[in-house]
Subunit: 462 residues, 2 copies
């Protein structure tokens, strides 16, 4: 446990009501979406950037480790205090939208702002913040930046890193750093904002984010393609995109997901559907929307689509999307525990990657329903196991390891949008060689020489 004098010092910085050290609160802050549990020794809520600086400076001197936390909705343990120390809770006070600059199409926010709160605020004035992770209703923008969150709209609009113009952050020693500008171009000095994105709170604590906005598209339509097989659907993905289609989203569901949607939720889908692609297209003029739909339809049909459906109105579009929105919860019919990984491969490798994933599932005798953001090559692979059986869990992890090796061999990555944290840390050696991991260590050491910021994550030393 943290010495009482440390608690008192934190209280002197942020005031008494902003430090928790009672058991109930420590338990409340010990979880994230991985459902594993590590108790912090205290939870401290900075009120502003200067508080963060004062806390970090003190911790750096006294060797107290710090894990930043927004909503704790991450899938890889980024916000878990695996080495104890303090949780720096950024959701309590540092949750304000500071500015929506319509002239430059930029928002300035604190790290604890919930993604959807920003989306709603900017849409109300005709703008859009595109990154829309599935956790958008509760995850924070600080967490989104720290994990470089993706989302449905990445196929056309890219991911969080494409919207970070500038960051303010606090180094382990308490130094306050400004990185980037509210300008489109900026090549003065090293790209510090670029290295802080996806660094999982291991290099610095974000204190302010300047995010790019775009004009809200005027026309949007939903579509669904129904395919006899996963292979046909995967071919349709990359062939339609290289034919010039630029859909906002192109989401994939395989035959097992279709089966689960029918069985568990009674969703009405064709009997012979072997895979679905669901998405939206948008544009400033109806003719652009029509161009996108025509390009998709032609490509889908060339790749054996049985049906290509265009939503005729908003209700119909919502109906088409029901399948995708319920994919994750429906697949529990195949096992009480899903080992959920978010691999990403070059899009042309999707057909081969899916074949290999199913073959690995067959080998281990697990169902592996897959769905996700096919339009950007990012697939959520779910190895379904009996969560009460340690043997099944072990075998499941072996299957995951084989999948990761295959993905990396195909030029893909361990994680498209969830990060590494603790849960993927054991697989870092598949993706990176010793020299590359040494560079990560050197970089971490240069920002945080006493290793107080989220140590032990991403396969780095505890």
């Amino acid at each position: 446990m943290l010495d009482k004098k440390h608690i008192q010092h934190f209280e002197s910085i942020v005031s008494k009501e902003n430090v928790y050290s009672d058991k109930a609160h420590l338990i409340a802050y010990s979880y994230d979406a991985t459902r594993t549990r590590f108790e912090p020794e205290a939870v401290v809520f900075p009120r502003d950037e200067q508080d963060i600086s004062d806390i970090l400076k003190y911790c750096d001197t006294h060797g107290i480790v710090i894990t930043a936390r927004g909503a704790g909705s991450g899938f890889t343990g980024g916000a878990l205090p695996i080495n104890g120390g303090i949780i720096l809770g950024l959701e309590k006070h540092m949750n304000k939208i500071l500015e929506i600059d319509m002239e430059n199409m930029v928002a300035v926010v604190q790290p604890g702002v919930i993604n959807m709160d920003l989306q709603r605020a900017v849409e109300a004035v005709g703008l859009m913040y595109p990154p829309d992770p599935a956790s958008e209703e509760y995850s924070t923008l600080g967490g989104n930046v720290s994990e470089n969150a993706g989302g449905m709209r990445a196929a056309k609009y890219g991911i969080t890193k494409d919207y970070v113009m500038a960051l303010r952050a606090v180094r382990a020693n308490g130094d306050i750093i400004r990185a980037g500008k509210r300008t489109i171009k900026d090549v003065a000095g090293y790209n510090i904002a670029g290295i802080l994105i996806a660094s999982e709170g291991t290099l610095a604590i974000l204190s302010e984010l300047t995010l790019k906005l775009i004009p809200k598209p005027k026309f949007t339509k939903g579509y669904m393609g129904i395919f006899p097989s996963v292979d046909d659907a995967m071919n349709a993905v990359f062939k339609s995109l290289s034919a010039g289609a630029n859909p906002v989203a192109m989401e994939f569901m395989d035959a097992l997901v279709v089966q689960a949607l029918k069985e568990k939720l009674g969703i009405d889908l064709p009997a012979d559907a072997g895979a679905l692609l669901i998405g939206d297209v948008d544009g400033n003029v109806p003719e652009e929307v029509a161009f996108q739909l025509e390009t998709l339809e032609a490509s889908f049909k060339e790749n054996n689509a049985q049906e290509f459906i265009v939503a005729h109105d908003k209700e119909h579009r919502d109906e088409l999307w029901i399948a995708r929105r319920n994919a994750s919860q429906s697949i529990t019919i195949f096992g009480s525990k899903k080992l959920n990984e978010d691999i990403s491969v070059p899009r042309s490798m999707l057909p081969e990657a899916l074949k290999a994933i199913y073959a690995i599932g067959d080998k281990y005798n697990f169902k592996v329903p897959c769905f996700g953001h096919a339009g950007d090559g990012n697939i959520h692979v779910n190895v379904m196991v009996d969560g009460t059986s340690q043997e099944q869990l072990n075998k499941g992890h072996e299957a995951i390891e084989e999948i990761f090796q295959m993905v990396v061999d195909m030029g893909g990555t361990l994680s498209g949008e969830h990060g590494i944290g603790t849960s993927k840390a054991p697989f870092m050696g598949i993706a990176f060689n010793d020299e590359e991991i040494q560079l990560f260590k050197d970089l971490k050491n240069s920002f945080d020489p006493n290793n107080i910021l989220n140590p032990g994550k991403m396969g780095l030393p505890s």
Copy 2:
């Protein structure tokens, strides 16, 4: 001079014909576009990545400094060997387009490939590589990445960093590092590719670039807006963009540039033109192009445009662009030497920034013609002085310093696309505080602890 044994060792790595140490060649490799001169002690041409690794490992052990060089076309001295040592010439052997992957819309190139060679190769197969710096006919992609080059099309399509998917690079100690993937999403490990972009050859030597391509737009039209004043034109820039226009380019020329174009080149422009905006719009369908032009025209007219001209065919479009293409060379009528800086400000600050620039020019009694990429907030500011007068040069530099201070105060940056190198290094203290510069030093030290890679650039230690 480099000891003969070092020269012999380099010859043993790359073979004798790939090492120059004769005076004529050392002079030939002592220049860049800044027209300042620093002779290297040898020029070494690696044939492949392994050569780079062998050279760096040797240099790291023996304390020999290395400056990477592509075409030597940089404006800020990035490729100048200001501390002697060797030039690593990447244009001789490492100049191949290795792959154009049409299925994933990705190109893999060596660092010495000339930008326009890639543009031509991908356009031949219906794709586009958008970054188009003015040096596109001779600058190399390795140099473009190292300086994060911009260009005309940045307003819609962004800059070099937006097209770097993955890099291979060699660290100072010879370690070969792979950073990034041929995938849209990748959040495994630190964003090493992100920090190498714009690092001016100070962190590692790039050995291979994987670059994103996009489908070539189907329809393009050129436009020109003629305004009575710079202020009206600058208002039209940010107001048209926040109204939803998304032009490929929106280039600006002020009254002095217009005067110079008329006087020096006899280009036919209206007598009362106080500023021009010239650019292109594009789209997949003609209606999108029309939407863009209508949005621009409405906004331009609301901001007092005297004329809004749409090119009726390719020849007419080329005619409109003549003014922009000749801006740089025409302004020499105002002084034999131009002190050329590429400041960038948030777009809404453009009207105020231009006013302040002219006021500084008046104070020092210099003409300061301005032109450039207004659509992304990046303006080329040219303080015109008599290059034979040291007093004028000194006063010119004072004016530049005042301009930088004003730009930074407005939330802008020292450099939109040229980098810092040596020429802007004296101004780093205007843009960054001691803590930020310390972070740059720590970062540099973590990649290159013996400081052999392009030391002394960006205000970092020699």
